[in-house]
Symmetry: D3
Subunit: 131 residues, 6 copies
């Protein structure tokens, strides 16, 4: 169903290949996901998006696993099928166990539940939480 098909390495322009190679080297894999192959129709968008992902996801005050868990939590909240599938895989690779996934899912569901109660009841922000 992809609008543009996927740009495979063999047919890719040099600047696209350079991004693919950096993705594979950074992630220590020999696969490039369909996501990148779809973006590759616009090499500037591919380059810019990969640079953003690479810099944002590198370990810092939060480790790689925690960042992947947050990524997956957002994707589940947005109900993005592709992102849930690919980031479940990424989180597992980073160390997410079955039990961690179950607890992540439970917290995501809970936050979606309480978010609507807070909005529906038009709850005013507590004084200590302001500023």
């Amino acid at each position: 169903m992809a609008t543009y098909g996927l740009v495979e390495y063999e047919q890719a322009a040099p600047e696209v290949r350079a991004v693919y190679e950096d993705i594979m080297a950074t992630r220590q894999t020999d696969r490039v996901n369909n996501f990148w192959k779809a973006l590759a129709h616009d090499p500037a968008l591919l380059r810019r998006t990969w640079a953003l992902v690479k810099e944002t996801m590198q370990p810092g005050a939060l480790d790689a696993l925690t960042k992947e868990l947050i990524y997956l939590a957002v994707s589940i909240t947005n109900q993005c099928a592709y992102c849930i599938a690919s980031h479940t895989a990424a989180a597992r690779k980073a160390g997410m166990s079955d039990q961690m996934f179950a607890e992540l899912s439970a917290v995501v569901a809970l936050a979606n539940y309480t978010n609507r109660l807070a909005s529906g009841y038009q709850v005013e922000i507590d004084e200590p939480f302001r500023s």
Copy 2:
């Protein structure tokens, strides 16, 4: 702007007081957030929601801080002002530093960005991510 005002401890029925006391004991605080005081107009909803929060948020395979980070990530994605304010406070109490918050925000923003690219480009799920 709260539709029903807030149920303060002094005016609360015994079953509501019992929940408030459990909240304060569990969280080691002497405040009950406006959120709970709004729900207290329906004691069954209050009790049920608190039981859900208490059980879901207890440390397990994921520690308390990680669960708070996930909670906040969902609240930011949903753009729930009350929840962002209260859960930023909760996450800080659980140990979130300024740098952790900045990195959390960056990952949340990034996932919202890539989620739309994946959907807009109608990217098919990679074979290895199926099942």
Copy 3:
């Protein structure tokens, strides 16, 4: 904070007044909500939107209260502050009691909870629910 201010009856063009009058007659009130006064800067958008609301919200297989409950449930899910405030008032006028509101809120929260579990676990649609 309204971008364009509000178009009051006194300053309104005849075609806008006609819509205001139909709103007040249909709803048996002498107030026109700010929502309509904001849209009135574009009389065609005002007329079209009011016609859509009037026809959609008239009682049919679902009665007026049920339609208002559904409207409010959507507004809470979307976390639209204006819509929650105005449609809580509208639902009350149509007969929503405090207990009905509490139960509505509980179901809205629950559906937001289970929606994410279904998406996160990538649950396949049951055969009997297909087609």
Copy 4:
């Protein structure tokens, strides 16, 4: 595409079987939906979620059909394919006719339409709707 496959009754632990039996008894059916079979990998999540659904969805100030309509309205707003399929079936079982579904859909669409107009025009909440 389910990440974990489904836990069938025959292979399920006693605590999972107990939940399945309560689901079937409460709903007067001999089927357990895939949703529950996916959650069953974490028996605590299964038990907690079923208890929440059972208590929230029991008739009260709102009858069973109205609760199902609200559930479906939220699922459509969130565009959750699994939830739309399963809750369309549940609402039909509770008495939703074709015409009711059409009117529900129309109100859901309308509320999503007006929610964005209210937000886009930055409409201030009317004085009478405050508090």
Copy 5:
């Protein structure tokens, strides 16, 4: 997976046929999309929705292509698979090139990114943007 199947021209009532004919004439095509064939189970909803689409999408201060780009941007943000597929086709027919689609996607992704940063950081609206 359509709940009601599709109402084909041959089996349609005269009022439904009249809408189909207006759709085909307005769009200069001999196809009616599945979307309309699904709505046709409720002829009033079909008529009302088509009238809304027809009036809203006619060129005005914004030309037809710009309106289609906005439509697609919303559909991508909402991650509506049907709408993305059908409105990508509609936008292409109105003149959207591959490069325009890439830039549209990039802006949609970016806005989803910055929306969450603004919300997460609880940024106050700048004085000059108020009113």
Copy 6:
């Protein structure tokens, strides 16, 4: 209500000042929006986000006004109050007239309406829109 206050130019580190100066030069203004002053607590996030905005929003196959209209359409769909206020201002600066805003709002509302009908009716994607 900003969590961290705003980093004003006078107190800013050199790398932050450099970004502020590029923002002001690029936009031909002497103001830096609160959004950037909030992000400045994490200079890397500030730099990265500004680079993304600058590159994405430069005119290309789509002109500056069209890109601003798309940005605003997404912000309205997400109901992000800050983003709606700031990007309404940005779009006006880029040439959006009152009538353009009204038509933009109408299309955004319409797309949110039809997105839910397509999802609720579980409409299958038309054969010609596949691929």
